[in-house]
C-alpha cells in the first residue's frame, strides 16, 4: 500500500469561517500548510502563465490530466459526462496530454467500452453527427478499468494504471476523479482513494480533485457525516460538489445581471423590494424514478439545492472578486442569515403537497400514488412552498416565497422581485391602479428578463395600464449555449470552484431544510393527494401568500 493511513488522521473539515479561505489567517498547522500550498500554486501559475493565451477562449488551458470516471457504465456517465468530455475535446478545450479512465464493475475491454461510448454519443451528444476523426483521437485516450468499489487491491491496480498513463500520455500526475455513482458509494470510494494515496498532492506536480454529484446527504446529520468522511481524506479545496443547475448559462447570467449592471443595486434591498418569489415548476411527474423520488421528495430534490442556490445568488452581497471562495463566502452568509424553521413555523410557513390524477397539457395523467414504484399510501411530497426570511441588514422583513413541484401546468423556473407600491397613488381616479413593478428573471424556458411597469394609455384621459418590457435571452443572442456539464467539467479541470458547492453551504442549506422535514414527521399524516395534476399546487400555497395580501405570479 502506497498511501497514508487516512483513517488515523483528524478530519480536515474547516470551520465555516476557515472554509472561506479569505477571512481569517490560518490557525492550525494543517491550515497553514494548505494556505502555503495554495499560495505556492498561485505564484507558480502566475509566473508561468502562457502569454500567447491572452485574448483566446481560455486564458489558460487545463493542465495535462487523467479524467477518472467512476461509475462509467451508468446513465449519468453516458448521458451527460461522456458527451460533455467529447464536446470539450471536439472544441479543442482539452490538452493533448489527456486520458479518460473509465471505472466500473461490469466487464469490458477498452474497445468494447469505447464502442458503448460511441453509441451513447450518437444518442446524447448535442452536436450531431459525431465527428469520426475527432472521436478516434479521443477514443485512443480512453481505457477501461474493471473495479468493485469495495476492492482495495483493485484501487491499488487503478493507481498503478494511472501511473503508467502518466508515462504514456504525459498526464503529469494530475487526476480528476469524477464520482458518477450512487450516493451510498461516495464515502467508500473516497476512503479507497485515500488508502491508496491517490489523493496525495505534492509541490512537484500532480493535483488531485474529486467531483461529487448531488445529493450531498439527505439531512443535516448525513451531510455532516458525508463531509466529515470526505474531508478525512481530502482537503476542501480538492472537493468539487457539482449541482448542474449552477452551470446553466442563465444562472451564471444572474451574476452578470446583478453585478454587471449598476442600476439595480441601489434598489436591491428592503427599502424598495416588497417580496421575492422563486419558482421551480415541472410539468412532468416522476417518470421512471418512482423509487428514487419516494426516498427524496421535493424538499430534498429541489428546495435544499436548486431553490436555495437561486435564493443565495439573488440575495447575496456583492463579492469582492469572482474567485471561488469570495463568491461562496457571500452565498453561505445568506443561508446562515435564515433561521431554521421551528415546528410552529413549519406549520405556518411551509406547505407540502402531492399531486393526484389530473390533466396536463391536454393529457390525462395518473396521480403520484399511481405511478410505478410508488407506495399507494405514499406521504412523499411532490410540491413544497415556503415563506422564508433572511435576517440581515439588506433583507430583514422581506419575505422570500419559494415553491417547487411536479405535475404543475408548465415547466418554468423563474425569480420574480416585486417592488413596493408607489408611496402616493396619484392616479387613483383613473380606470385602473398601476400594479407594483416586478423584475422577473426567467431561468427556463425562454430565458430572459422582464420588467413590469405602468404606462399611460394613449388618449385624452389618464388611463394607466401595466405593460411588460421583455428581454428575451434567446432573441437577443440566438446562439448555442454550452451544456452545464461542459461548463462545470472544464471549470473543475481548470481548478475553478466558483460554481461548485462548498461543504459549509451544503450544511447551511440542510440546516434550513432538515427542521422542515423533521417537523413534517412529527405532524399528523398529510391529506394527500391535495392538488390535481395540472394545477399550481394545493390551496394552502395560495393562502400562504393571500393572508399577507399577496399572490403567486401567474406563469
Amino acid at each position: 500500500m502506497r498511501g497514508r493511513d487516512s483513517g488515523q488522521r483528524e478530519p480536515r473539515t474547516m470551520s465555516p469561517r476557515r472554509a472561506s479561505g479569505a477571512s481569517e489567517p490560518p490557525r492550525t498547522a494543517r491550515e497553514l500548510r494548505e494556505a502555503r500550498l495554495v499560495a505556492h500554486r498561485r505564484r507558480r501559475a502566475d509566473a508561468s502563465a502562457n502569454p500567447l493565451r491572452a485574448g483566446l477562449r481560455l486564458d489558460r488551458a487545463p493542465d495535462p490530466c487523467a479524467f477518472v470516471l467512476l461509475g462509467a457504465t451508468g446513465d449519468l456517465a453516458h448521458r451527460k459526462v461522456l458527451p460533455a468530455i467529447y464536446e470539450l475535446w471536439r472544441t479543442n478545450l482539452l490538452p493533448a496530454e489527456f486520458s479518460v479512465v473509465a471505472v466500473a464493475r461490469r466487464p469490458y475491454t477498452d474497445e468494447s467500452f469505447a464502442a458503448e461510448v460511441r453509441a451513447s454519443l450518437a444518442r446524447y451528444s448535442r452536436v450531431q453527427p459525431v465527428d469520426e476523426s475527432v472521436w478516434a483521437e479521443l477514443a485512443r485516450r480512453i481505457t477501461y478499468h474493471q473495479l468493485d468499489f469495495g476492492d482495495g487491491p483493485g484501487f491499488e491496480r487503478l493507481s498503478a494504471h494511472l501511473d503508467q498513463l502518466d508515462a504514456a500520455h504525459g498526464t503529469a500526475g494530475n487526476r480528476l476523479f469524477y464520482l458518477a455513482v450512487q450516493p451510498s458509494q461516495v464515502t467508500e470510494i473516497v476512503r479507497q482513494i485515500g488508502q491508496t494515496g491517490m489523493d496525495h498532492e505534492s509541490r512537484s506536480g500532480g493535483w488531485r480533485r474529486v467531483v461529487i454529484e448531488k445529493p450531498f446527504g439527505r439531512d443535516s446529520e448525513s451531510a455532516r457525516h458525508l463531509n466529515h468522511e470526505v474531508t478525512r481524506v481530502l482537503r476542501e479545496s480538492q472537493v468539487y460538489r457539482i449541482d448542474h443547475y449552477l452551470g446553466k448559462e442563465t444562472v451564471r447570467n444572474l451574476l452578470v445581471f446583478r453585478f454587471g449592471n449598476g442600476i439595480f443595486e441601489p434598489v436591491w434591498n428592503r427599502s424598495y423590494v416588497d417580496h421575492v418569489q422563486i419558482t421551480v415548476a415541472e410539468s412532468i411527474g416522476v417518470e421512471t424514478r418512482g423509487s428514487f423520488y419516494e426516498e427524496t421528495g421535493a424538499a430534498r430534490d429541489i428546495l435544499q439545492n436548486h431553490l436555495l442556490q437561486l435564493l443565495s445568488l439573488v440575495a447575496m452581497e456583492p463579492p469582492t472578486s469572482f474567485e471561488a471562495d469570495a463568491l461562496r463566502d457571500q452565498k453561505v452568509e445568506v443561508l446562515r442569515a435564515m433561521a431554521p424553521p421551528d415546528p410552529d413555523a413549519v406549520r405556518r410557513s411551509i406547505v407540502r403537497g402531492q399531486y393526484g390524477l389530473g390533466w396536463v397539457r391536454g393529457t390525462a395523467v395518473a396521480g403520484y400514488r399511481e405511478e410505478p414504484e410508488v407506495d399507494p399510501l405514499s406521504e412523499t411530497e411532490t410540491y413544497v412552498a415556503g415563506r422564508f426570511i433572511i435576517d440581515d441588514w439588506r433583507w430583514s422583513g422581506v419575505p422570500f416565497y419559494l415553491r417547487a413541484g411536479k405535475r404543475l401546468p408548465e415547466r418554468a423556473t423563474e425569480i420574480a422581485v416585486q417592488f413596493k407600491e408607489v408611496p402616493l397613488r396619484l392616479f387613483r381616479e383613473t380606470s385602473g391602479d398601476p400594479e407594483p413593478n416586478v423584475l422577473t428573471m426567467r431561468i427556463q424556458p425562454d430565458e430572459g428578463i422582464l420588467l413590469r411597469f405602468a404606462a399611460k394609455v394613449p388618449g385624452l384621459g389618464l388611463d394607466v395600464r401595466t405593460v411588460n418590457m421583455d428581454f428575451d435571452y434567446g432573441t437577443s443572442f440566438v446562439a448555442d449555449s454550452p451544456d452545464a456539464y461542459e461548463t462545470l467539467i472544464l471549470d473543475a479541470l481548470l481548478g475553478d470552484a466558483s460554481l461548485f458547492t462548498r461543504a459549509d453551504e451544503v450544511e447551511a442549506a440542510w440546516g434550513i431544510v432538515t427542521p422542515m422535514i423533521e417537523g413534517w414527521a412529527a405532524m399528523p399524516a398529510p391529506r394527500f393527494p391535495n392538488y390535481p395534476a395540472g394545477t399550481w399546487g394545493p390551496e394552502e400555497a395560495e393562502q400562504l401568500l393571500a393572508r399577507e395580501g399577496r399572490r403567486w405570479r401567474r406563469i
Binding site: N50, L52, A54, G55, A96, V134, G170, T475, V478, D480
Partner: protein, 391 residues
C-alpha cells in the same frame, strides 16, 4: 431561416426611410397580433452596423453575410453604396425587416436592413445619412469590406461616428502592406478598436501556437525565441510580391506583441522573394522571415509558422500548419519530435468572422497591440497601443 417580412417601395429621403422602418414593424405587430398573450413585441437590437459597400455586388455579398448573422446580432444594418458619382445628388433606399426564429422556435428575433444608394454629391456625405438612422445608444460598427481609403475626408467623417472598425486586410489590393500601415496609423492615433478579418482568421493558428507552450516545462522557451518563420502561399509563375501578405505579417506581429519583442529593423524585401525583419526580445535578436511557398492555398494564405527557441542547451521548434479543416501542431525538442496533434479546426467562414468581429471585445487589446507592431514592422511610427476605445 430568415424571412422577408416587408419589401417596401423605394424611399428617397431619410424621413421616408424612417417611415418605412416604422411601417415594417407595425406590419409585423399586426401579423403577430393574437399569437402572443401578454408580451408587447419588443425589437431586439444589440448594435448598429454600417457597411460601406461601394459597388452593388459588394453590397449584395455583405447583405447575405449580415443576414446570416442577424440571429446572433439583431442589429440595424445600413448598407451604403455609391452610384453615379457625377450625377445629381440624391439617394434611393430600400428597407427590409427580418424575423429569425430562435433555436427553440418559440420566438422570433428581429433585425432591420436599410440599403442606401447615394448619388452625386450625396455620396460624399454618407455620414449625414447614417447619423439620423442609427438606433440610439447602441454601439456603431463600421464595416469597410473593400479597399478602405483611410487617409481621406470621407474616412475621417465615417471613422468619427464609429465605435469599432471592421476590415478585411487579406482582400486589399497588391501585397496589402500600404493599407495595413495606414490602418495601423489610424488605429494608433484614434484608439478606434479594429477587427480585421485577416487577424481573426488566424484564431485557430493562435490557439495552436499557444498550445505548444501550455506544458509548463516548455514555457520558458517563450522568453528565448530566436527565429520566427512564416511560409505563405504564392501562385506558381507569379512574383511573390503580388501576393497579399497581411496575414503572414500579422502572425509575426501578434507573436512579437505577446512576447514583448521590439522591432529593430523593419521589414525589407530580399532578392529571393523572401522578406525579413529583425526583432529584439530581452537581450537577444529574433530573426523574422516571410518565405513564399508553392501551395494550393490562395495567394497570401499562411502555409506554415515555425518558432525556434533556445533555452539553455535546449532548442525547441514549434511548427504549425493548417488546411481547410484542421491545424497540425508539431513540437521538436532538439530535433526529436516530442508531440504531434491534429486539431479539428475548420477555417472560419465570413459569417463567423463578422460575428467575431462584432463580438470579440476581449480580443480588442490583443488586436490593437498586434496592429501596432505590424505598423512598426512596416516602419510606421505607431504610438504604443493604448486601451482600444479609450478615445
Amino acid at each position: 431561416m430568415a424571412q422577408d417580412l416587408a419589401a417596401a417601395p423605394i424611399a428617397r429621403s431619410v424621413p421616408e426611410i424612417e417611415r418605412q422602418l416604422a411601417a415594417a414593424w407595425a406590419a409585423e405587430r399586426e401579423r403577430r397580433a393574437g399569437r402572443t398573450e401578454s408580451h408587447v413585441l419588443a425589437r431586439s437590437s444589440v448594435s448598429n452596423l454600417v457597411v460601406v459597400a461601394g459597388q452593388p455586388e459588394t453590397a449584395q455579398r455583405c447583405a447575405a453575410i449580415v443576414g446570416a448573422t442577424a440571429g446572433r446580432h439583431p442589429s440595424r444594418t445600413l448598407i451604403l453604396g455609391v452610384a453615379d458619382p457625377d450625377g445629381p445628388a440624391g439617394l434611393e433606399a430600400r428597407v427590409e425587416a427580418l424575423s429569425i426564429p430562435t433555436p427553440s422556435g418559440a420566438a422570433l428575433t428581429g433585425a432591420e436592413t436599410v440599403y442606401v444608394a447615394a448619388r452625386g454629391e450625396t455620396g460624399r456625405h454618407l455620414a449625414s445619412i447614417i447619423l439620423p438612422l442609427l438606433v440610439h445608444d447602441l454601439p456603431v460598427a463600421l464595416w469597410w469590406p473593400v479597399d478602405p481609403q483611410f487617409h481621406s475626408h470621407r474616412a475621417d467623417r465615417l471613422l468619427a461616428l464609429a465605435d469599432r472598425l471592421i476590415v478585411d486586410g487579406s482582400e486589399w489590393a497588391g501585397d496589402g502592406l500600404d493599407r495595413l500601415a495606414a490602418l495601423a496609423d489610424v488605429a494608433g492615433r484614434s484608439r478606434l478598436p479594429v477587427a480585421d478579418f485577416a487577424l481573426l482568421r488566424q484564431y485557430r493558428w493562435r490557439e495552436a501556437l499557444a498550445s505548444v507552450y501550455d506544458l509548463p516545462d516548455l514555457r520558458p522557451h517563450l522568453r528565448s525565441v530566436r527565429a520566427i518563420t512564416v511560409e505563405f502561399a504564392t501562385v506558381e509563375g507569379q512574383p511573390a510580391y503580388l501576393a497579399n501578405i497581411v496575414r503572414p505579417v500579422y502572425h509575426v506581429a501578434w507573436l512579437a506583441s505577446r512576447l514583448g519583442m521590439s522591432v529593430v529593423t523593419p521589414m525589407r524585401s530580399e532578392p529571393d522573394g523572401c522578406r525579413t525583419a529583425v526583432l529584439r526580445q530581452g537581450g537577444h535578436a529574433v530573426a523574422a522571415e516571410w518565405r513564399p511557398a508553392s501551395s494550393d492555398l490562395g495567394p497570401g494564405s499562411t502555409v506554415r509558422v515555425e518558432i525556434v527557441s533556445r533555452h539553455g542547451r535546449d532548442e525547441l521548434a514549434g511548427v504549425v500548419a493548417a488546411d481547410e479543416r484542421s491545424v497540425q501542431v508539431t513540437v521538436q525538442d532538439r530535433g526529436r519530435e516530442r508531440a504531434h496533434r491534429i486539431y479539428a479546426a475548420p477555417r472560419l467562414r465570413e459569417v463567423e468572422l463578422l460575428e467575431r468581429a462584432i463580438d470579440d471585445r476581449a480580443g480588442d487589446r490583443i488586436a490593437a497591440e498586434a496592429l501596432a507592431v505590424a505598423g512598426r514592422l512596416l516602419a510606421v511610427d505607431v504610438p504604443a497601443a493604448g486601451r482600444p476605445g479609450a478615445r
